[in-house]
Each structure stands twice: as C-alpha cells, then as structure tokens.
Symmetry: C2
Subunit: 429 residues, 2 copies
C-alpha cells in the first residue's frame, strides 16, 4: 500500500513541455496555472485536516487521506504553519480570508502559551521541540531551530495583526539566538566535551539569514541597520561551505572555514545547498551585490543540482559523501519532497534574475520530476518520502518534519516569480 506511484522512469515523462526545446510564454503560463491550483489545494488540505479546535494549534501528523494518526504537536511545524498562513494572507489577495487569519492567530496563541519553556541557563528561554495535544512539553532539542520558527511566526503574525508585543517578542528571542550562536551556546544545554569540536553547520547561518530577511522586510532603516552586520556575517558563514576549490558545497565546516575530518566533514545535502542558494539570491538582489549573485548561482544552484541529481532514477539525493563513500544516513538515497521544493525556487529565481535559458531547462527537469512524483491527485497534498526509484515509501502527508511549509512556500514563491516574469512581456522568455 506504500508502493503506489508512477513507474520508475516516469521522472523522464514530459508534463510541462519545457524540455521540448522551445521555451514559451504559454508553457510558463500553464506552469503558473498548475502551481496556483496546487497551492489552492494544499491550503485547503491543511485548513480542513490540521486544525485542533479543542486545544488550539495544529495537528501535523496527518495520514494519506487526512486522518490524524498522532496528536503530538511539533513546534517547528506550528511556527511554520503560522508563518505560512500569515504570509499568504498578507501578500496574496485570494488568501486574504478571515478563516486563514483566524487559523494563524489561533496557532500563534497556542505557541505563545505553550512553546516557551525555561532554559537550562537561568533567565534564558528555550522553545520545546514537541508538545502534547494540550501543550505540555515532551522534548526540548539542544539546537536553535524551534526558536527560529517561533521568531518567524511571531514576526509575520505581528505584521497581519499589528500586535507590537509579538514583534517585540520575536526581537527578544532573536537577541537570545544571536547570543547562543555568536557568544555562548551553553544555554542550549549541550555538555561541553573535549572531542565535540565547534562546527559551522550550514543550517545555522542559513536560518539566521532567513530570520534577518524576515525581520527587516519593509521595516525602517533603524531595523535594517540593526541587522545589517548580522546579515553580512551569515553570508560569509554560508560562503565558507564552498570547498574543494569551488567544486563542492559541504554541509559542515570548521568555524574558520576549513574542511572537517570524517563523514561529518564530507557530508553533502544538495537540497540544503539549493535552499541556501535562493536565500543568497534574495540577499544579493536586495543589496545589489552582483558578485554574490554569480557565486550563489554557480556554487549554490548549478553545482548542487549537478552533483545532487540522480542520473539513473531522477530526483535529488537527500545526502551524499563528497568522496563517494556511502553516507551513514539510512535515508541517503531517498527522494524527499523538500529538496525538490527548494530546487524549484532556487532555479526559477536564478532564471528570473539572469534569463539564462539553460536555467529554465533545469527548472523544467525538476518541475517534471516533482509534479509527476510528489502530488497525490487522489487525496490531495504531496507525498514526502520516495524510494530512490521514485515510489512512495511513506504515504503520510504530514509528520514530525513535514507540515504546512515547504510545499506551499515553494508554490507561493514560484507563482510570484512567474507573475513577475510574465508581467514583463519579455520576449527573451
């Protein structure tokens, strides 16, 4: 029952017509139409199945047909869903609906009430990783990510509600996050061990850069100034992951930007590199930094697409070892939904900034694989976890790490980029 899906070579089926050589405005319009319809369906799915009207917050463990199979509430996904609802409500007319605003506010209220728990260091707050249905903390991670998504939720929610306390809360949590990352991480609760060397894990500067862009968007010079230095620091930390004379993006490097020994140092996560790529492209567009734009496209879009794409079965590998050893992650060869979401955004954004036709070719390849494998035409939303061959390995629609975030963010970003592209009646398309 977990094996449904198109045949093994279906990734090569041409569903968009892009790769028939000639790009055309018509094809892009068809693509935008598909993205728009998908986004509407995905929003409907989560509005229909994920709301807990008894205790508040969102169910995220949702099965193939929308049934809740576990009531635990994962804080990453609570924060992400609040953020996504607000972003859609705030920036897209067709989602500017009371039910979406109400859902976002209810989710935000649940987060504010239950997500924060006292940290191990006095005076510091942590966010739990996982809560019971009624909000009791089950688990706290010794990382910064629950806090990151809490900040995203509070800042975006403050923009639609005008609630300045929320914005203040986001800024307060951000201050603590910066302290943990740049000054002293002991508040995260990890024991200091002699063999546990400090590392620059790409996820950290990526998330911080994402938060900087969130917090400064459309705000005054004062806020922009406040985070300018941090933004530049994040970019430099991300660029440190370009290794092997520019031929590879490595997931973990030393704080000085040198390669680390062993599996940790050789680990590659193509989807993560592509996500970093579009964060950098956004940053370079805002700052007008053309060299950064070139680096982002060459090293964080083209490169991970080249080494990350499975030439045999199509799709992006989840993990790779830069020297070709077998990764120790059991799921290394699986095809996950989110790297494909990030690839679609990164490649389309790179195309929209450069109009280089080969980027549109790449977009079409990822688009074809993605839309022929992940969406569930029968019950809605997308499958998240395929085998290397492209068959559905886990048929859940939501789980501890899959919620209302990567799919709608991808559809939303790509629709907007296509809107801009198609608005400029540029015959170069």
């Amino acid at each position: 029952m977990f094996m449904q899906s198109p045949g093994e070579d279906s990734y090569s089926r041409n569903t968009s017509g892009f790769s028939q050589g000639k790009m055309s405005v018509v094809k892009l319009e068809e693509c935008r139409e598909r993205l728009r319809t998908e986004l509407d369906n995905v929003v409907d799915f989560w509005l229909k199945y994920s709301h807990d009207n008894v205790h508040g917050g969102f169910f995220t463990c949702i099965g193939k047909d929308g049934k809740v199979y576990d009531e635990l509430k994962y804080v990453w996904l609570q924060g992400r869903q609040v953020w996504m609802y607000c972003r859609l409500y705030r920036t897209m007319d067709r989602f500017h609906k009371p039910e979406i605003l109400e859902a976002a506010k209810a989710g935000g209220a649940f987060l504010r009430k239950f997500a924060r728990v006292p940290g191990t260091s006095s005076g510091q707050w942590k966010c739990a990783f996982c809560l019971t249905r009624d909000g009791k903390a089950v688990k706290i991670q010794r990382t910064i990510f629950s806090e990151c998504f809490y900040i995203m939720a509070m800042d975006e929610l403050s923009r639609v509600t005008g609630d300045e306390d929320m914005q203040l809360e986001a800024e307060e949590m951000m201050k603590q996050l910066i302290y943990w990352v740049q000054k002293d991480s002991s508040g995260l609760g990890r024991p200091q061990l002699p063999g546990d060397i400090p590392i620059n894990s790409m996820a950290v500067p990526m998330m911080l850069l994402c938060l900087v862009q969130q917090l400064v968007e459309g705000r005054g010079q004062e806020v922009v100034q406040k985070y300018r230095e941090l933004g530049n620091w994040c970019v430099q930390q991300i660029l440190q992951h370009i290794q092997r004379n520019g031929t590879a993006i490595l997931e973990n490097v030393s704080p000085e930007g040198s390669e680390l020994p062993g599996c940790l140092g050789r680990l590659q996560n193509p989807g993560h590199a592509l996500e970093a790529g579009w964060f950098l492209l956004q940053f370079s567009a805002e700052s007008g930094d053309e060299e950064l734009q070139r680096t982002a496209i060459d090293k964080f879009v083209e490169l991970p697409y080249q080494y990350g794409w499975d030439k045999e079965h199509g799709g992006l590998f989840y993990f790779l070892d830069v020297d070709g050893h077998c990764p120790t992650q059991l799921e290394w060869s699986m095809k996950l939904w989110w790297p494909h979401c990030e690839a679609l955004i990164a490649i389309l954004m790179a195309y929209s900034q450069t109009k280089r036709p080969e980027l549109l070719e790449r977009f079409s390849q990822v688009y074809e694989y993605t839309f022929s494998h992940f969406p569930d035409a029968k019950s809605g939303e997308w499958f998240g976890y395929l085998t290397q061959e492209g068959r559905v390995a886990l048929d859940l629609k939501g789980g501890p790490f899959k919620g209302f975030f990567h799919v709608p963010r991808c559809l939303y970003m790509c629709e907007r980029i296509l809107d801009d592209l198609l608005a400029t009646k540029d015959s170069a398309i």
Copy 2:
C-alpha cells in the same frame, strides 16, 4: 554502485534445501558448515580491518572493501567487539588464539581508559556514546546502552583474563544502571518535562536481562541470588509488551503495562521482539519455566515472525505500526541485517527446545533470505542495509551501529545450537 545484489525475488530461491519438505540431518550439517565458514570469514574481516594499532580500540566505520571511512569510535561497538572476541576465545577452540585475546585486551584497555566520563549527577559515571580516534568524548547519550555494552565487555573480559578488578567494575556499573532504571533516572541527564511520560521501552528490560544472564553465567549461588529478583523483574517488564489480547508485541508501553497513545504506542520492531524471544527462551531453559517457554515461542518468536515478514519481497520489516499506519521512521520498510540475525537465533533455539518441524521450516525461510541477501561473497562480511526489495542500500560493512556483534553472535549461537542438535542423533530432526 549501492544497488548490487541478487534480483528482487531472490529471497524465494532455495539455497538450503530445507523447504523442499523433508528435513534431514544432512541439510542441518550443510547449514552448520556454512555458518562455520561465515563465522571464520567474519572474524578474519574484523581482525584484518578494524584494529587501531596506534591509539588502541577498534575502527567501526569500515567500507565495502575494508577501508576505514571514519575514525570515530562508537562505544557500543567497542564494548560489543571486546565481548564477542572474548566469548569466541573462551568458548570455541578454533578461536582460542593469542591474537584474539590480545585484540580483546587492547579494546578493553581503550574502553577503561576513555569510555567513562563524569555524569551530570555528582559521583555518577556515564559512558560516552562516541569517542575520537584518540579517545576524547564526542557525544554522550542520555540512555543506558553505552553502559550496558561496557558491562558486557568488562565481565566477559574478566572471565578470560581472570582480572577481578574488571568484574568488580562491571558490577559497579551494573549497580548504577539498576539505580537509573528502577530508582532515579535523573543521572542520565534528561530534563524532566511534564509531557514526557515514563515508558517501559522494551530495549531496557531486554538489555538488563541480557546483562543478568552475562553476570551470573557459571558463577556461584551468591551471584545468582544477587540477580535473581532483577531477572524476574526484567521478564515481567518484557511480558508487558504483549498487547492487543496477545495478538501484538508493542515496543513501548506504560510502566503499568498499558498501551500508550500515538505512534510511540503503536510502534512494532519485529527484530527486537525476536531478540527478546531468545533471551526469554534462555531464561526459561535455565529456570525450567515451561509456561514462559511457551509464551516466548508463541508471542516473541511465532508472532513477530508472522506480522514482521514481508509477504511481497521477503525479509523482516524494520518498523511497523500495529494499526497499519505508515511508521514515521524513514527506514521502516528497509531490511536490516540484525533482525534477521536475531530471527535465526530465536527460531533455531525454539526448534531445538521443542523439535516442532514448522519451526525448522521458518528457520529455513529466514536462513534462505538472509544468506542470499546479506553476505558479500566478494569482499567479506555482510551488508547491513537493504531496500524493501532486497537491494543493497548502504554498502558499508561497519558504521555507527553496525560492528562486530550481531553477525558473529548469530553465527556463533546457531553453530552451537546445531552442534547440540546434531550431537543428539535424534531421528526427529
């Protein structure tokens, strides 16, 4: 390159002849011969590739052809390798060789020197989960398992060296383990959270029962007395995992033995249930408890084999959900080496105690799948991780969780059981 292996339906190939209907002494002798040869090869592989003659201890991250791909030393696997070397040296003439004793002593010395680190509670010691090549602690788990394998190593090593300090050390660590499990777990370092309810996870009573059997084996009445109550407690804790009116073994239950909500409560791990099965069979044989023997065979051998076996592709699933939901573990449908090792021991032991022919049929089915899929005829040792269809997904021979333990323990146990079976010229075979 990770896709090598027999074809998809190869599990149904008959390599032993067992399932051609008539059991015969000849077939069992062929089987014992194969097991013996495999054990010799596997021991040679680890003697050749895993020893660190510079810093001591064992490399466990070993690639397809024996190459070390990561130098981290995982403490579970250090302890297990010491135990396995000692057990082979002590109980099998052909392994009673100086090089095996020396390797065990060197591994034990590395463990004693580096594995123990101060715990979070004063006066308590923890064992690290992972060390650098030169013995610096990298990570400490907030569980009891590193300590369990430390105890196994020290006790078994003390038996071959006659070093009473080591036995004392094992007993001391055991005392602390019992305190963590039965009195106060705060020393493990997990924060007490309101939503983090106490659970009876099968791994804990299983490991403790295994340690009790290790510590009392062949020792005087005083030691047997000392651990009798604990042994009985472990058995009762394990039996609590029989749920759904005896139709399912669940991996996690409440301390009172009732089913837990959500994925956690519905989780099944057939290989783990089968491993518990042969621990219980050993215990029932020693105590002459026939009712426990029946329960062990019906509920912990027959039952997990029935629900755990993949009717489509063969092999045992790694995880299942008792209600048929999709497990959230990405690797749920993969075929891992160790559940098959545990199944071979459990089913053959059940047969040896009962001589029920259908058990030998089951053994032959698991034997055929296992030996047609996991051993690497080219480079030695076994692959550990196959896709659901039975293709090699990870081609490493050793990793963070695969070392010199499950394969040799299985081959060793099965060879000994067959020795006994074939020694009694019982025509019922």
